[in-house]
C-alpha cells in the first residue's frame, strides 16, 4: 500500500537515508532549510521537497501546510519530525541565538507541526513520529540540545496518551550516528566517532522501530548488536 509520508530534515543524515529507504513504494514529501537547488541530487526521483526553515517555526508550519494542501493530501499516513540541530559548547558559551535556534528547530517547530498536522493525521488514521536523541537524559556539552530532546520526550509521552485511539504518537531516540550533524554542531567525536552507526543503518533501525510502534524507544549501537545485524542479518 502506498502511504503519504512527510519527513522533516531529509536533506542530510538520518532523514535523508530514511527517505531513500522508503521513497520507492510511498508518496513522500520532505523538508529542509536549504534552497531547492542544493538538494535535488540527494533526493530520489518523485520525492517532493519543500524549503521550510524551522528557525522560524510559525513560517515553516505554514509552508508545510501549504505544500500538503497543494499536493491534495487531505490525509497523512505518517509524519516523521526529524529535523534537528545542536551546538556543542560549555553551557555559558551558548548564546541567546544558539539557544533560540536549538529550541525553535528541535522543539517549537516540531510541536507546532504536530498541532497543524493533527487533522490530516487523524483523517488517515496516521501516525506521528518524533526523532529525539539518547541525549534526552542530559548531556553536559550539549545542554540546550539535550533540553530540547527532553522536551520532545515529555511532549510525546503526554500526547501519545492524550491522542490514544485517535492518532498514534511515538518517540524514537537514536544513538550516535555518523552524520554531518556533529561537524555542524562544532563537535569532534575523535576516535569514538568510528563506533557511530552509518546513517543507512540507523535509518533501517528507525524504520523498523516505526513499524513496531513501541514508545519511547532507543535505537543505538547496543540495539544494533542485539538485532543480529553483526551476523549479517538484513535489517
Amino acid at each position: 500500500m502506498t502511504d503519504r509520508i512527510l519527513i522533516t530534515g531529509a536533506t542530510s543524515g538520518i532523514g535523508n537515508a530514511l527517505t531513500k529507504r522508503i521513497a520507492h513504494d510511498n508518496d513522500v514529501l520532505v523538508t529542509g532549510s536549504r534552497s531547492a537547488e542544493l538538494v535535488s541530487p540527494d533526493l530520489p526521483a518523485g520525492v517532493r521537497y519543500v524549503q521550510a526553515d524551522q528557525t522560524r517555526p510559525e513560517e515553516a508550519v505554514d509552508l508545510i501546510d501549504g505544500a500538503l494542501e497543494s499536493s491534495g493530501w487531505s490525509g497523512l499516513d505518517l509524519a516523521v519530525l526529524n529535523a534537528g540541530i545542536g551546538f556543542a559548547c560549555e553551557p555559558h558559551a551558548e548564546t541567546p541565538d544558539t539557544i533560540h535556534q536549538t529550541l525553535d528547530v528541535n522543539l517549537m517547530a516540531s510541536m507546532l507541526l504536530a498541532r497543524s498536522l493533527s487533522g490530516r493525521l487523524e483523517a488517515a488514521g496516521g501516525k506521528l513520529v518524533l526523532i529525539g536523541s539518547v541525549a534526552h537524559r542530559g548531556a553536559s556539552g550539549f545542554a540546550t540540545y539535550a533540553a530540547s530532546k527532553a522536551g520532545l520526550h515529555g511532549f510525546a509521552r503526554a500526547l501519545r496518551e492524550e491522542w490514544r485511539n485517535r492518532i498514534r504518537v511515538q518517540i524514537i531516540h537514536p544513538g550516535p550516528t555518523a552524520t554531518p550533524m556533529h561537524a555542524r554542531a562544532g563537535f569532534d567525536p575523535g576516535r569514538i566517532g568510528r563506533l557511530f552507526l552509518k546513517p543507512e543503518t540507523m535509518a533501517a533501525m528507525v524504520h523498523r522501530a516505526i513499524r513496531a510502534d513501541k514508545s519511547p524507544v532507543t535505537v543505538s549501537f547496543g540495539r544494533y548488536i542485539l538485532s543480529g545485524a553483526f551476523a549479517g542479518r538484513r535489517l
Binding site: 517555526p57 510559525e58 508550519v61 560549555e90 553551557p91 555559558h92 558559551a93 551558548e94 548564546t95 541567546p96 539557544i99 533560540h100 529550541l103 522543539l107 517549537m108 510541536m111 507546532l112 504536530a114 498541532r115 493533527s118 487533522g119 534526552h136 537524559r137 542530559g138 548531556a139 553536559s140 550539549f142 545542554a143 540546550t144 539535550a146 533540553a147 530540547s148 530532546k149 527532553a150 522536551g151 520532545l152 520526550h153 515529555g154 511532549f155 509521552r157 503526554a158 500526547l159 496518551e161 492524550e162 491522542w163 490514544r164
Partner: protein
C-alpha cells in the same frame, strides 16, 4: 542568610512566598515579573515580560546590573491545559519562551557575565510532571522536562565554576494559577501551600540538596512515576485530561 537573591515570577504563588521569606531573612531581593510585588526597602522590582524574547533582550541589562547574585530562583512559569491542538500556537510560543527558553538564557548569561557569586545557588523550578507525564498539558510537560534536563546537563560545568544547581519538582500548589488549571471537582485542600513549598526550598538550599521534591505525596508520586511510567501517565490521563471540561491558557 545574606546577600542578593534573584527571583523570577515573584509577584504571586511560589515566587511571592519565596520573596517574602527571603526578605524576612534580611536578604536583598530582585524580583522580575510583569506585575509589581508588595514593596519593601530591600526589594528591587524589574518589570519584564519574560515570555517575550524582545522584552527579555531589553530587560537583560537591568537584571545584570542588579547582581551579582548569591541565590537565583528561576521560577516564573505558566501552564496551558486542554486539548493539545485546540490551543493557539501563540500561546505555546509564549509558554516555551517563559518556561524554558528564558531560564536557559538567564542561567547561561548570568554565568557568562560573572553575575553569580562564587558559592551561589541556582534553582530551576521544574514540575512533578517530569516524573508522571501530563496528558492534557503536553507543551507544558515538554517545557518542564526540557528545563529539568537542562539543569541536570549543566550541573557539573557550573559546579566547576563554583555554582551549585538545584532542581525543584513541585506538585500542585494552592495558587491562583493551579486553581485555574485544575480539572472540575479537584480537591484544592490536597494542594500544598506555596509558603510551605518555599520553606522547603530554602531549607534545601541550606542543606545543599541537588533535588527538591516538596512533600511526601509528591515524593511518592515521583517514585511511582519512575517505577511505572506508562501506568502513571495513563492514570494522569484519567484523573486530569478526561476530567478537563475546558481549555485554559
Amino acid at each position: 542568610m545574606t546577600g542578593t537573591a534573584l527571583v523570577t515570577g515573584g509577584a504571586s504563588g511560589l515566587g511571592q512566598a519565596l520573596v517574602r521569606q527571603l526578605l524576612a531573612k534580611d536578604m536583598h531581593v530582585v524580583c522580575v515579573d510583569l506585575v509589581p510585588p508588595d514593596t519593601h526597602a530591600n526589594l528591587i522590582f524589574i518589570k519584564c515580560d519574560l515570555a517575550d524574547r524582545r522584552a527579555v533582550n531589553i530587560g537583560w541589562s537591568a537584571i545584570l546590573a542588579a547582581g551579582p547574585y548569591d541565590l537565583v530562583v528561576l521560577n516564573a512559569g505558566v501552564s496551558a491545559t486542554g486539548q493539545f491542538e485546540s490551543i493557539p500556537a501563540e500561546v505555546y510560543r509564549r509558554l516555551i519562551t517563559l518556561n524554558t527558553e528564558t531560564p536557559i538564557r538567564m542561567a547561561s548569561g548570568l554565568m557568562r557575565e560573572a553575575a553569580l557569586r562564587s558559592g551561589a545557588q541556582l534553582v530551576f523550578v521544574s514540575s512533578l510532571s517530569h516524573f508522571t507525564g501530563y496528558p492534557g498539558a503536553a507543551v507544558y510537560a515538554a517545557s518542564k522536562d526540557a528545563l529539568a534536563v537542562y539543569a541536570k546537563s549543566i550541573r557539573a560545568a557550573f559546579r566547576n565554576r563554583g555554582v551549585s544547581v538545584i532542581s525543584m519538582y513541585p506538585g500542585p500548589l494552592r495558587t491562583p494559577h493551579a486553581e485555574r488549571h485544575a480539572p472540575a471537582g479537584a480537591n484544592a485542600s490536597r494542594r500544598m501551600q506555596p509558603n510551605e513549598a518555599a520553606l522547603i526550598l530554602l531549607a534545601g538550599t541550606i542543606a545543599g540538596d541537588k533535588v527538591i521534591i516538596p512533600g511526601i505525596p509528591a515524593k511518592l508520586t515521583a517514585l511511582a512515576g519512575r517505577l511505572f511510567p506508562a501506568t502513571v501517565t495513563r492514570w494522569m490521563r484519567r484523573e486530569i485530561f478526561q476530567k478537563l471540561d475546558r481549555s485554559v491558557f
